[in-house]
């Protein structure tokens, strides 16, 4: 049950520890901005964890994963707009709607393979984007402001930034653990087998479609949760959350961090967003470095950060 103590795991756990202690650091140094940044990092790491399950372990290259950030976010936003501010209603709705869309989109997309799969998931995400941008009542292109964050029972108060941060971090840790268990279970083995050699899986008796579909739904639902959190964090939702390039950002996080590894998505989210902060402090054209960086990772360091840590051991 205990994960093997190699460098990758140790670094991962240390990182989680650092994240746990962050509010203390913020308290001591007074840099409130760090708390905001890292709340965002934690939330997007959760989204990356969900994509890692789908892409890293399942081998399903969905280019429409950001759609679930939007779906979860808009579930919260729309309900808040209509006067339903209870988190006990909003969050389950966000999860259910995400699961539903993931089921429908997955059911159709998984009938295709390779480049076609990439294209069709992309297309569906764009459809969701256009639908949401077409909802005049909820702001359309301009987005929707959320007046009040999701309400739960006292003492839980999401407007308290430190509390909110810890809730997000707790959910992230739970998600990492959940995905770890799923991946090593029978279901996880089926998914990994399907990624490794789908034909062989079917030849030995696995109807792979249904397992991949359920994996798709789990990943979408988890991302919908991240979307609900994001909506609360920014007090705002807009169609831009689900534009296909945002899906690309998530994919970058997963690849940069190391696909198909436990802490990869966390490494990737931290690395990308911290890099973004640091580089944008140096030049406003920092993305000009990010592009080629991604290229280099793809060409030379396919295993991402996790891969590099894995190799470091064997030096």
């Amino acid at each position: 049950m205990i994960p093997t103590l190699n460098l990758r795991t140790v670094v991962g756990l240390l990182l989680l520890l650092a994240l746990l202690l962050l509010p203390l650091y913020v308290e001591l140094t007074g840099s409130r901005f760090l708390l905001t940044l890292f709340t965002r990092i934690v939330i997007l790491a959760l989204a990356a964890v969900s994509l890692n399950l789908l892409l890293g372990y399942g081998g399903m290259m969905s280019f429409g994963h950001a759609a679930y950030l939007g779906i979860g976010g808009y579930a919260v936003g729309i309900l808040a707009f209509e006067g339903i501010t209870s988190g006990f209603v909003q969050w389950p709705v966000a999860l259910l709607v995400s699961a539903f869309f993931a089921f429908v989109i997955g059911a159709l997309s998984l009938r295709t393979r390779g480049i076609y799969f990439i294209m069709i998931t992309l297309a569906f995400a764009q459809m969701a984007y256009y639908i949401v941008a077409g909802l005049a009542r909820y702001g359309g292109d301009d987005g929707l402001t959320i007046q009040k964050r999701s309400q739960f029972i006292a003492p839980i108060n999401l407007s308290n930034k430190v509390q909110f941060y810890y809730i997000c971090l707790a959910l992230l840790c739970a998600a990492i653990y959940l995905v770890w268990r799923i991946v090593n279970s029978r279901f996880g083995m089926a998914i990994q087998g399907a990624r490794s050699n789908d034909m062989r899986m079917r030849a030995i008796g696995f109807p792979t479609y249904r397992y991949q579909l359920i994996c798709f739904v789990i990943a979408g639902t988890l991302c919908g949760l991240a979307g609900a959190l994001l909506a609360n964090h920014t007090d705002f939702v807009s169609p831009a959350m689900m534009y296909w390039t945002r899906s690309g950002d998530l994919i970058i996080m997963v690849v940069l961090g190391g696909m198909g590894s436990t802490f990869g998505p966390l490494f990737g989210a931290v690395a990308l967003l911290v890099l973004e902060e640091v580089l944008s402090g140096i030049t406003e054209y920092w993305q000009i470095i990010l592009g080629p960086l991604l290229l280099l990772v793809v060409l030379f360091a396919r295993g991402g950060i996790d891969g590099l840590l894995g190799k470091a051991r064997h030096g």
Partner: protein
């Protein structure tokens, strides 16, 4: 009680009028064949005769244009590939098709898992389940790969890959094995080992063996079918096939010339 003489009753696999074309090429041409339970039936023929296409249609990878396939009394012509495996029809691949990024044991355990009910179990660590690991180890022991169990499948030699292929096919406890050139690329020692393994398996399973290695074929087969351009040109006991003039001309003559 099963009477081996009464073929019609004891046939495990029956193929009737199977046909398949790819554009202008006829891969399978009105193929009819019956294999009784317990038999080791070899299918031979020159390259391009459609042997692999035949196995692909039997396992469900390809859909025939016409014809019927009957397995264990059920018409499986339109049954999906996973379902055929669950009915007891297992297959090995001519070109190694394994889960190269998983361990050798994981590969075989997956084959066991496929037949151990559904896989909607999300919590328990599958690698610690004796219901999956024990039969997997047993299958590996059967083919002689126990020592390599924990290595990644990609680390194995070609010969060991062929053994793993066989282990995976066996792990699903099939009624019938479709073996597509299991000796492909094996040296003399490895081939001999494979032959003796197949001889053992004969006692418990029905086997359809596609092979080029004539020594192995004549050593193992109860009956042989010869395929040329997708048609059956001869089918019967090994001695009859060996003496069949048509077969000689089409195929065995070539083989003898090659083997001198």
């Amino acid at each position: 009680m099963v009477c081996w003489g009464r073929r019609a009753m004891a046939e495990l696999l029956r193929v009737e009028g199977l046909a398949k074309r790819f554009g202008g090429i006829v891969a399978t041409d009105d193929l009819t064949l019956g294999i009784p339970e317990g038999e080791l039936h070899a299918v031979i023929g020159p390259n391009g005769a459609g042997k692999t296409t035949f196995i692909a249609q039997l396992s469900g990878q390809l859909v025939p244009d016409s014809g019927r396939i009957n397995f264990g009394g059920n018409d499986i012509t339109s049954v999906s590939m996973p379902s055929r495996s669950l009915l007891g029809l297992a297959r090995s691949f001519q070109i190694t098709s394994l889960f190269l990024d998983l361990s050798v044991l994981d590969n075989v355990a997956l084959a066991v898992q496929a037949h151990a009910g559904h896989s909607f179990h999300f919590w328990r660590n599958a690698r610690r389940e004796p219901e999956l690991r024990d039969p997997a180890r047993a299958a590996l022991a059967r083919v002689g790969l126990s020592a390599r169990a924990d290595l990644p499948a990609s680390a194995l030699s070609h010969g060991e890959h062929r053994q793993l292929e066989l282990a995976m096919a066996l792990a699903s406890r099939p009624r019938m094995l479709l073996l597509d050139e299991p000796m492909a690329g094996l040296g003399p020692e490895e081939s001999a080992r494979m032959v003796s393994m197949l001889r053992d398996l004969k006692k418990e399973l029905t086997i359809l063996l596609v092979e080029h290695d004539m020594e192995a074929v004549f050593a193992l087969a109860d009956r042989i079918t010869v395929l040329v351009y997708g048609r059956v040109i001869a089918s019967g006991k090994p001695e009859d096939i060996r003496n069949n003039a048509q077969v000689r001309d089409a195929y065995l003559g070539e083989q003898e010339a090659v083997h001198g």
